[in-house]
């Protein structure tokens, strides 16, 4: 193939002169990490609540939680993002005010909320699976000890469930970093967008996509290393995956 390799391009100054092309990639990396971490915190909180609600013996609450999961799990992430960013500000009161704030803040907020809701539906399913995998005796034992149902959830079932679902949660945590690349479509300059921009400015497509790939891999290797430690510490003796 007809291609001029030039790995030195990363150290070249960008046309506006404020940094190098590597600087662009690193600022993209920073944006990706900030966006994914903040969305993950939200997703974990929301997902835990909805996941618990899916298992409670109150029909309308469980129904609401099921509808929530189906809604956010069955609509493609890209469509959800466009709805959050383009459609909702047009129909919700306060949308006009939202559109007047700094454009980067608009893009960041829409992306964060979108990723958080999308991922929370998946987290909720993991939490539900964790709770359902507990022997029924645990709930009964909690109730027999005089705990109310919320107390049984709080002190017995939820802590156990979380310790069981650490491995699938790791997958979701990795996914949120990868899914965040979708946010480049609304103009947020995260890692994928900076990589794309590098191609536009230098026409060095292969170097830039290889660099972006390596950076995503690095992020996810760090996440995996951290989660492996968490897994080791929280493993329940005698359960799946425990030594």
């Amino acid at each position: 193939m007809n291609y001029n390799w030039n790995w030195g391009i990363f150290l070249a100054q960008v046309p506006t002169g404020e940094t190098t092309y590597l600087g662009w990639l690193l600022s993209g990396l920073q944006m990706t990490v900030m966006l994914s971490l903040s969305a993950w915190v939200l997703a974990l909180a929301l997902g835990s609540i909805v996941g618990v609600l899916r298992t409670v013996p109150v029909k309308w609450l469980a129904g609401f939680a099921a509808a929530y999961v189906e809604l956010f799990r069955n609509i493609p992430l890209l469509v959800q993002l466009f709805i959050w960013y383009f459609v909702l500000p047009e129909i919700l009161p306060g949308g006009t005010a939202f559109k007047q704030i700094n454009p980067v803040a608009q893009q960041f907020l829409a992306s964060m909320v979108c990723l958080a809701f999308f991922t929370s539906a998946r987290v909720a399913e993991q939490v539900r699976a964790g709770i359902n995998s507990l022997p029924r005796g645990q709930k009964n034992a909690g109730l027999a000890l005089g705990f109310t149902l919320p107390q049984t959830y709080r002190h017995v079932m939820v802590p156990m469930a979380f310790r069981i679902i650490v491995p699938p949660l790791t997958s979701e945590f990795l996914n949120i970093f990868k899914n965040s690349a979708v946010c480049s479509t609304i103009g947020l300059l995260e890692l994928a967008a900076q990589g794309r921009q590098l191609v536009d400015y230098t026409a060095q497509a292969y170097e830039s996509f290889i660099a972006v790939t390596v950076l995503y891999l690095l992020i996810n290797m760090v996440v995996m290393a951290v989660m492996r430690q968490v897994e080791k510490r929280t493993r329940v003796p005698g359960y799946i995956g425990a030594k």
């Binding site: 046309p15 047009e90 006009t96 454009p103 103009g187 300059l189 794309r196 921009q197 191609v199 026409a203």
Partner: protein, 298 residues
């Protein structure tokens, strides 16, 4: 004596004619001949250069030029049943797709510049534009200095994006710049009030007005910040292919055939809404038609 002269002239003929008949096909032409297929890259929303009309057919000024090139190739290679494969491309993927062979030629709204020439080749220029601003008639924006402190949208991967970022940095204008994915999304950003102006090639801006819900609300303003030459994009170092493409475009331009094509796309109603762009031919374009060339402006 006569026989000798005849022999000499025969040899001369053979020498002159040889390249035309015996020349080995190489590069793209060989690929086209071998596969009986040509892959054309087109845009999806670059009105009126290359876009889908209301029947989801690819149409446009650049697209018609590309089809003329295909006709010339059919004749040259004697392939009356040449198969055409249409491949939609975006600002971001068009260069890699040409390089890796997915697309043989792309005629849309691609600027010929020296940076891109390191990766791909460009044909004779097919259009010359200026980069200007699209804004609401009542926005109060008259020229680039009015943008200070405001939000401006442009399409990612375009020359306008580079120019506006540079201007922002050099003149300390404190603009917020949004880079949207394609022209349609840029216009949506402008239309929904997220940005006060949309910087892009003037011809494309007229195209966006033609697509708008209320074309009367919009106008194109500002001093052109750059002139750009659009060309068809091909693989580099493929002189045989480039020659036939260049010759086709040059013939269109010098024969005056191009004027009818220009009037059809820029001075008459065009799909999808039957709106007239009313974009008269510039002096730059007239000069180009008298003297076809593949010169880049930057």
């Amino acid at each position: 004596m006569f026989a000798k002269r005849l022999l000499t002239s025969l040899i001369a003929c053979a020498v002159v004619a040889a390249p035309a008949y015996a020349q080995e096909l190489t590069g793209t032409l060989k690929k086209i001949k071998d596969t009986n297929t040509i892959s054309l890259g087109h845009r999806e929303s670059s009105i009126p250069f290359s876009y889908y009309d209301d029947k989801q057919q690819v149409v446009g000024y650049s697209h018609e030029i590309m089809l003329k090139v295909v006709d010339a190739i059919k004749q040259e290679l004697k392939l009356p049943n040449l198969q055409i494969k249409l491949i939609p491309v975006t600002s971001q993927n068009r260069i890699p797709l040409v390089q890796n062979g997915t697309v043989d030629i792309e005629c849309g709204s691609t600027t010929n510049n020296t940076e891109r020439q390191k990766q791909v080749a460009f044909s004779n220029t097919i259009f010359i534009i200026g980069t200007r601003l699209l804004t609401r008639k009542d926005s109060g924006i008259k020229d680039f200095p009015d943008l200070a402190g405001k939000t401006v949208v442009t399409t990612a991967g375009t020359t306008s994006e580079r120019l506006i970022r540079k201007m922002n940095e050099e003149k300390q204008m404190k603009m917020n710049i949004i880079s949207a994915k394609d022209h349609g999304e840029s216009f949506l950003t402008l239309e929904t009030g997220r940005a006060v102006a949309f910087m892009m090639d003037d011809a494309l801006l007229y195209g966006e007005i033609a697509k708008a819900r209320k074309p009367g609300d919009w106008q194109v303003v500002g001093t052109p910040q750059s002139r750009e030459a659009y060309g068809c994009m091909m693989r580099k170092d493929d002189p045989q292919f480039k020659k036939i493409v260049d010759a086709t475009i040059a013939k269109l331009q010098t024969s005056g055939e191009i004027n009818a094509l220009y009037n059809k796309w820029f001075m008459s109603p065009v799909p999808p809404k039957g709106l007239n762009l009313n974009f008269p031919m510039s002096d730059d374009m007239k000069a180009l038609h008298n003297n076809p060339n593949d010169k880049a402006y930057e």
